[in-house]
Symmetry: C2
Subunit: 228 residues, 2 copies
Amino acid sequence: MIRIENLRKTYTVGDIEVPALREVSFSIERGDFVAIMGPSGSGKSTLMNIIGCLDRPSGGRYLLDGVDVSGMSTNELAEIRNRKIGFVFQSFNLLPKTSALENVELPLFYDRYQHIDDHRGAATRALERVSLSDRLDHHPSQLSGGQKQRVAIARALVNEPYIILADEPTGNLDSTTSIDIITLFQKLNDHGITVVLVTHETEIARYTKRILELRDGTVVRDERVEKR
Amino acid sequence: MIRIENLRKTYTVGDIEVPALREVSFSIERGDFVAIMGPSGSGKSTLMNIIGCLDRPSGGRYLLDGVDVSGMSTNELAEIRNRKIGFVFQSFNLLPKTSALENVELPLFYDRYQHIDDHRGAATRALERVSLSDRLDHHPSQLSGGQKQRVAIARALVNEPYIILADEPTGNLDSTTSIDIITLFQKLNDHGITVVLVTHETEIARYTKRILELRDGTVVRDERVEKR
Ligand SMILES: Nc1ncnc2c1ncn2[C@@H]1O[C@H](COP(=O)(O)OP(=O)(O)OP(=O)(O)O)[C@@H](O)[C@H]1O
Ligand SMILES: Nc1ncnc2c1ncn2[C@@H]1O[C@H](COP(=O)(O)OP(=O)(O)OP(=O)(O)O)[C@@H](O)[C@H]1O
Ligand SMILES: [Mg+2]
Ligand SMILES: [Mg+2]
């Protein structure tokens, strides 16, 4: 369902070129549960942003369900981002002037097909799943770091996406809450949702089915996780 | 050097009161190395902000080097924040329109006594210590999550503070880089700097000398770390 072929991404800073991804190739089948690991600066978020149709590669191909993403229109990409993919950003990206509940409802307004009618109910349930029922009216500045992270997770789930892309979803969470979150992802994966998450914690990666390790913009390891 | 007595902090959201800290008491002697742990939302950042003179408590007392902080003027508090304390924020708080180097130089401009002349040199060395010499000119949006975190750490160290307060300084770092950072804090602590860091990772806490655990706004555990 996700096919990456010889992907390259180079940033330019002044007259310096920063090769963030160099010739990355792999496939992720529907229903897989992948952990992307690797050192700080190795290209994990860059790769996630391309998979999530938030950024375009400098070279190579990205095929989503057999279709080359580079050929898609802005509308088609927006459609994918809203209906197919739920994205948890490494820095949350919550709207500062709106409540946790409204932040989580937002993707539902952008869904052209409105396949969910009860926005308030769906958003409330999503926040319950991440144990934030008592923080619905708080604005991001009134939430702890880990609570903001969980609002970002709830927002990624509310539209019932086919693919969840989560960039360091437990980076600000204590071990108990982290285990709640990774267990939630496991449950969603058991129901057929494809999950790709970036983590730097081997404890968390152990809950997934496959580990893709990056180093300096290339894949250095691609292994199944033995026994879950 | 840090004395907390019956500290309370209550936030108000609409007409609801959120008791973030309830009757917290402890002391931290000069040269100690403390890890503050606890679940998401248990009050760790709230406590750090009060110790760092960034926020005032609702009740109780905070004495820094024997002086009650509540009696200090805005200028005296700013002085403490600039010269005595280096603060690493959970969400980094970097200036978006300035480079990594300029972000790290900033505290040096605010130092009234200008005890460091060579701002560029001091900032460059601070960034070298967190392995970011090749990212000096990048702006925050051109840095990975873990690189932003390390710029925030470098900025907290550049003014050679007596106390380092670090809120989840390794939350976005892979294990190798995390160990580099905690080892750097250990070295600074060996030179007499008091270090208080919030972490949710027991692996990291093991490098410290003492663990203070919060739960629901109170201290539930205060133990020395056996053997480092
Ligand atoms: N400005 C605020 N207004 C209202 N409530 C707040 C505010 N800031 C924090 N809170 C609440 O106070 C509690 C403690 O927050 P704090 O940020 O100290 O937690 P924390 O231990 O740092 O959590 P985390 O590990 O998730 O970062 C949380 O339940 C949070 O929702
Ligand atoms: N917009 C940009 N302009 C220039 N360089 C960039 C930009 N975004 C990222 N980079 C660089 O590309 C490299 C890869 O960044 P990326 O954010 O993908 O790393 P990462 O693996 O997610 O790191 P971390 O674990 O620290 O979050 C880094 O060295 C970073 O400095
Ligand atoms: Mg990243
Ligand atoms: Mg916090």
